[in-house]
Structure formats: structure tokens, C-alpha cells
Amino acid sequence: MIKKAVIALAVIIFAEGAALALSASQQTTFTVTVSSIFELSIDQGMVDFGRMKPGETKWNMPSSGVNVVAKTNNGKPWYIKVSNSSPLNSANNIIPNNNFYWSGWTDGTGKWYGSASDQISTAPKIVYGSGVGEENNLPNGTANHFKFKLAVPSNQAPGFYMTTVKFTMTE
């Protein structure tokens, strides 16, 4: 009788062992750093007003506008300012900045600060402030478009005048 009981118990235990589900696990931590993108690009490096007479004014240069594209994935508000390095100058002659204007428009959702008659200055002036969602505007960025107007003073000395206009993106 006792032998039978032992045999029966053994069968039960082995049967349980066979049905036992086993599981084990391990894990690994993964990290990645997404690099910061904060860049400003323009599609034209040169704007040429061509030959102008004293007293002449040219608008809307260049006709297609200068496209200034700002890209960032930093998640912070940003703005663009415009300035020039110095008034248009040729040797010792200058065309004062109160004869040189910028205007334009934005494709963005932010605020465009320009009017149709903003003079360029050597002190940076705000042009555009990012809108909602533009704190991270990858991959296409936000495009702003600029045109320039130049009124050559009626008593301007002849010469090849040049200046550098600078766009600055800041967050």
C-alpha cells in the first residue's frame, strides 16, 4: 500500500515538472543624442543693382527676392535681425544708409516686423520672430524673403559701391 502511494506521488511530481513554464529575461539601456541644428541659409550671395544714375531709385531688387531659411530643432523661440557692415561705399565715398531700404515677407507663422520702408542700418534690426511650432521647424525650416531698394542721391559721386548685408538668427 505504501509503495503504491509513493509511486503515485512520483508520477504527480514529474508530471508537474514537465509542465512547468520557465522564463528568464535580461535588459539593456540604449541612449542616443540627437544633435542640435541651428542654421540660417540664403540662396543668393550677391545682389547687384547694376548701373544707376544720381537721383535714380531702384525697387524690388532682386526681383525673386533673397530667400533666407532658418532651421532649428532646439525647441526655443528665435528671431532674425538684419544689418549691414557699413553704408555702401566706394573708396572714400559712401551712399548713406538712409537711401538703402529692405522689405519682404514671410512664409512662417511668426511675426514679421518689416514695413515697406525700413532703412538698413549697421545696428541690427529685428525682422522676424518665430511662431508657434517653429521652435522645431525641421526639416524644411522657415523661409523669409527680402527685397531691397536703393535711392542714389542726386549728387552722388561715381564709383562701384558695395556693402555687406548680414542676417542674424538668435535664440
Partner: protein
């Protein structure tokens, strides 16, 4: 006397049961860093060797499976609501075989052989390997050498991904 015999048999059976339950899993790397990845960039994780290795040892004699999952999407450390979708985080099982001699290739057990390329991570366990598929070496019982499964990792960074450091945990589960 009878009671002693009974106790002895029972102890022997419990010991036998304990040895039957040996199924272990180990992974050779605790943390893996992709480093810096630019938005829109594809990058494979830089590894000390050309792969990371999962080792499974079983002496149960039963078919076992290895699965992989991610606990959550890669999450920005500063802004937890910002994540990198799981479909941009990928794994590849490049090889399976005996960890030690006889070094039999066991790639027939891979659910996604290397030729199929990278697989998107998922929060749901994805089958990586099933034991016992290779006739030359049935690794349902592979103790003590074990079966090693080699992995590579890839990241297809979304082109609009916010800058920052992201982290997640990958889990390997072996079940019989």
C-alpha cells in the same frame, strides 16, 4: 523505515526537478550609446565588437524561444513627452550558433535572419529565435555551452527630431 524511503525518494525527485529548471539568459552589454545622430541620419550603434551577444543556456530539453521588445519609445531626458518612434529604432539578428564547441551554426532558428535586414522595435515581444530548428545540433539542451544570438542596432533618426538625449530599455525574454 518506510517513511525514510519515502522522504529519500521525494528529496531525489525535488532535486531532479530543480536541475530540470535550468534556463538562463545573459547579455554582454549593459548599456549601448548611439552617440550623436543628426536629424535625418541613419546610424548603426558603435559596438566594441561588430555585434552584441545574447547567450541562452538550457538543459530542459524543451523547445525555448527568445524574444525582444522595448519597454517604451526612446524618450527625451528633459521633455518626456517627446519621443523617437519605435519604428525608427531597429534591431537585426546577424547570427546564431553554439557559444562554445562544437560551434554549430544555428541560424535556422532565427525568425529574422540577417538577410532580412533590420526589424523595427516594438513594445510587444517579437520572436527572435526558436531552439531545436537545426538538425545538426538540437539546442533544446545546450548546456553548458549555450546558444549565442548576435545583434546589431540601427537608428533612422526622423528628419524633424528635436535635439536632446533620449533613452530606453530593451528587454530580452527567454521562455520555454
Amino acid at each position: 523505515m518506510t517513511q525514510k524511503i519515502f522522504a529519500g525518494i521525494l528529496a531525489a525527485m525535488l532535486l531532479a526537478g530543480t536541475s530540470l529548471a535550468a534556463l538562463t539568459v545573459s547579455f554582454d552589454t549593459a548599456s549601448i550609446d548611439f552617440g550623436s545622430v543628426a536629424p535625418g541620419e541613419w546610424k548603426e550603434a558603435p559596438l566594441a565588437r561588430d555585434h552584441d551577444t545574447l547567450v541562452v543556456v538550457s538543459d530542459t530539453g524543451n523547445v525555448w524561444t527568445a524574444k525582444i521588445s522595448v519597454t517604451q519609445a526612446l524618450t527625451n531626458g528633459t521633455f518626456p513627452s517627446i519621443t523617437i518612434p519605435n519604428e525608427n529604432f531597429r534591431w537585426m539578428s546577424t547570427y546564431a550558433g553554439n557559444k562554445n564547441a562544437p560551434y554549430t551554426s544555428l541560424v535556422s532558428g532565427l525568425n529574422h535572419p540577417a538577410g532580412l535586414g533590420y526589424v523595427n522595435f516594438s513594445a510587444i515581444d517579437e520572436l527572435v529565435y526558436t531552439s531545436g530548428k537545426e538538425a545538426a545540433y538540437i539546442d533544446n539542451n545546450n548546456s553548458p555551452a549555450g546558444t549565442e544570438i548576435q545583434f546589431k542596432w540601427g537608428m533612422a533618426m526622423p528628419s524633424n527630431q528635436r535635439a536632446g538625449t533620449y533613452a530606453t530599455t530593451v528587454r530580452y525574454t527567454v521562455t520555454q
